[in-house]
Amino acid sequence: MISKLAFRNIKKSIKDYGIYFFTVTLGIALFYVFNAVESQSAMMYITKSNKAIIELLVQVISGVSLFVSGVLGALIIYANQLLIKRRKKEFGIYQILGMGKGQVSCLLFFETLLVGLISLGVGLLLGALLSQLMGIVLVNLFEVNLTKFKFVFSISAMWKSIFYFGIMYVVVMVFNMIIMSRMRIIEMLRKKENTKLPVKNPIIALLVFAAGVGILARAYYYVVDFNQLAILLRGDMAMILIPIGMGIVSTFMIFYSLTTIAVLIFSHTKSYYKKLNAFTFKQISSQIGTMVTAISSICIMLFLTICIISTALTIRESLNSGFAESNPVDISYGIVLNKPTNDIDKVLAGIKGKNYDYTKEFSRYCVVKTYEFTKQDFNLKTFVGKRYPEFKNMVDTSMKYGAKWHAISLSDYNKLASLYHIKKYQLKDDQYMMIRTNDLQKELFDAGLSEGFTLNIDGHRLTPKYTETKSVSLMNADNEAMLTILPDSALTKRKAYQITLTGDYKENNKKHAERLFMAAIRNVVKDKDYSTYTSKLQNKNDNVGTTVLVTFVGLYLGIIFLLASAAILALKSLSHTIDSQERYQILKKIGTDPKDISRSLFVQNLFLFVTPLLLAIIHSVAGMKFVTILFGATNFINTSSLIRGTGIMVLIYSVFYGGYFIITHMMNMNIIKTR
């Protein structure tokens, strides 16, 4: 009997809350898919560096999965509580009809068990299918050859999903039991009185709101201002929790007071009594007023989603778009000399012989010399001159660790420039200039140049041609952040401290060419010299790895958060509409235009979905600013990729969030139509 009743009840609620079951199922599916990545990799041939990346990916994903299961667990528990609250009356009637409390709990237990089993089963099935898609994506990303398509099912990921979600459902059952045993029949049957605002007193509401906005503004100021952030984080990175905590508290305060303030403002306007406005407004405020905690958490989750997804996508875009630009040649190989010399042929003898001749193996190349400044040539403190106080920290650290500064001759630079297809420069004999390959120390060196610092190299007095450093993308063997270009005439008495060979392999099979080159350079370096290189091929592998890591983890977290928040909103909206059915019937009876009713429903739903999103977007502007500061010095984030990343994020959002919104609206319309 009870199991029959349980089946019937589930069938009934699936109709109303299908969107919630769908979300949980999808959540389980995603959980499985990402945890099954490991077994995907097993089926393909993967290079060593890729293997390391995938291992890292698997580790990160299982860490993140803990978090994800927490979010999904919260969704399930929250949704379950909502469903029970809604069914209070039904349970009361069961008891009046003579069912014992134990039996009702038993019924609930069966229902939860059934829902759990169904969603787990369907979720795993869906996950297994989606996971094949994931396999294809992985194969394409790592450009590995897949010999034969094989259906992969990860037993470990399956057990993991069952374990995690099993625990969640057990927790839900315990929760249900507790709620059931606490409820008294009279409470169950009593009609819910119409809901009140969280705060009655408008003055208190205004104060809370103003305080919330104030705290929020302070929190924003902390994270968007570089200096503020530097001061805050000076002692301890954990201090970042302060603005985050402020943000959370203020979000709660704003939603706590929002409805009261809205009532205060809107009920005194003329349009309040236009059409169904008064009704619609009351619906919205009672809905938002009764879910302050939920809507605040949703707002924060949405904010996190926006930041996580756009950061991940932005990094991905930057890596992809910047790759060609920052890797213009196949290889750059440098030998740092213990004893400076200008004898290039002698240094490179090992790769210019019978076994290997780079002049034949390379299609285009150049060899350049780099010089090291002595302490007398260049002193950072005198370089920045009277602007030293501004950069005290940077300068002192640099000097303390004995940072070295390097130079290259103008003709060598221009050789490289023509190889890289970048801008060439001209210098007079008494001029010098500086180039930078990243923005880490841009301000510092710009300051020195604008002060007009005069270099003295072996009696040649040189003044800066430009008042700022020029940004150049050099694929340099040692990835110098700052390089000085000097006219050739100033360097005649100097000896090179590094010799660098840069160029493209002639052979089309780059993998093979690189293997040959790597074999050849093994015995080039003599005694105390040492060599470094950067290779396009290896960079590309690393790039793919980072891209995969960032995108997978970002999308996994982001989409789960997004799904969970949208599902809670949808659930709230649907149960609110079901609770309000009687009101819609009355509206119909007194002859309200059906168009006005559906418009009212639409507006209610819109407000529910848009209000937390709006604040989340405002949060995200600050959040993304913070992220750009965080990554600002590196090449991970640039404006155009930020725009593209954000664009894709908006697209993902419109699909998921917009989809939930539209489906919820249609289901709402259906609820008031059919009953």
Binding site: L276, A278, Q283, R583, L587, K589, I590
Partner: protein
């Protein structure tokens, strides 16, 4: 002129195996400006009849004409338009929206008709007449049953509809407020030529009408006209019919 013509209306509830004939081949006419009371035992089909006229429910067969328009054939959009423009409905169970205050409930009737002009003054004066001024800012759950009924009446009357359908409008009222409401309806009937159809269980309320129709098992059983009588005489006549009809109505 007939404002309302009911022709052979039948209304069945349920399915083939267990069927209730709530209205059984009922026909009658109501003239413009009439005040008709409908009496009958509980379950005799009064609410069903009103629901069919107000197009909240659909007839199983037969036709209902309002101002010559066959409302049984209207589409849902026209139906809501018809209800909005022509009808004032006072429901047996009030049907107030619980999230709106009394004032907002009354205002709703005006705003869905886009008649927001002079809203405040009109609601105030009607509320004064129905003695609900003090509860205008209360929510339904903060009002007594009688107050709710008067608010529901105010909502029906505020738009000065041409046809008022009232389902036991005085059921939850004490005699003073009953009289208030009835006087108000009478005033609308006399001064605004509103046609009124009122279901009631009590002879006193029925005596305000021009005509009383008695319904039994979904059929018209008897009807009496007030004619030139004063209310007291008419009241006695209604009591006479009730006693004459005996059993059925005695247990009301």
């Amino acid at each position: 002129m007939n404002i309302l013509r009911i022709e052979n209306v039948e209304k069945y509830y349920g399915n083939k195996s267990s069927m209730t004939k709530a209205i059984d081949d009922l026909s009658c006419n109501v003239d413009q400006g009439e005040f008709v009371a409908i009496m009958g035992a509980s379950g005799s089909g009064k609410t069903t009849l009103l629901n069919c006229i107000s197009t909240i429910d659909r007839v199983t067969s037969g036709h209902i004409y309002v101002k010559g328009l066959d409302i049984t054939t209207l589409k849902s959009k026209q139906l809501s338009h018809f209800r909005r423009e022509e009808l004032g409905f006072i429901f047996q169970d009030f049907n107030l929206i619980d999230t709106l205050t009394a004032y907002e409930n009354i205002a709703l009737a005006l705003s869905i008709q886009r008649k927001e002009k002079d809203m405040k003054d009109r609601i105030r004066s009607l509320a004064r007449d129905l003695d609900i001024e003090d509860v205008l800012n209360n929510y339904p759950y903060e009002m007594s049953g009688g107050q709710k009924q008067r608010v529901a009446a105010a909502r029906a009357l505020i738009t000065s509809p041409s046809l008022i359908l009232a389902d036991e409008p005085t059921g939850a009222l004490d005699s003073t407020s009953s009289r208030f409401l009835l006087e108000k309806m009478l005033m609308l009937n006399k001064d605004y030529k509103a046609t009124i159809l009122m279901v009631t269980h009590d002879a006193f309320s029925a005596s305000y009408a021009n005509r009383v129709i008695f319904i039994k098992d979904g059929k018209i059983f008897h009807e009496i006209y007030k004619g030139e009588d004063d209310r007291k005489t008419f009241f006695n006549k209604i009591i006479d019919v009730e006693t004459m009809l005996g059993g059925d109505l005695n247990d009301l």
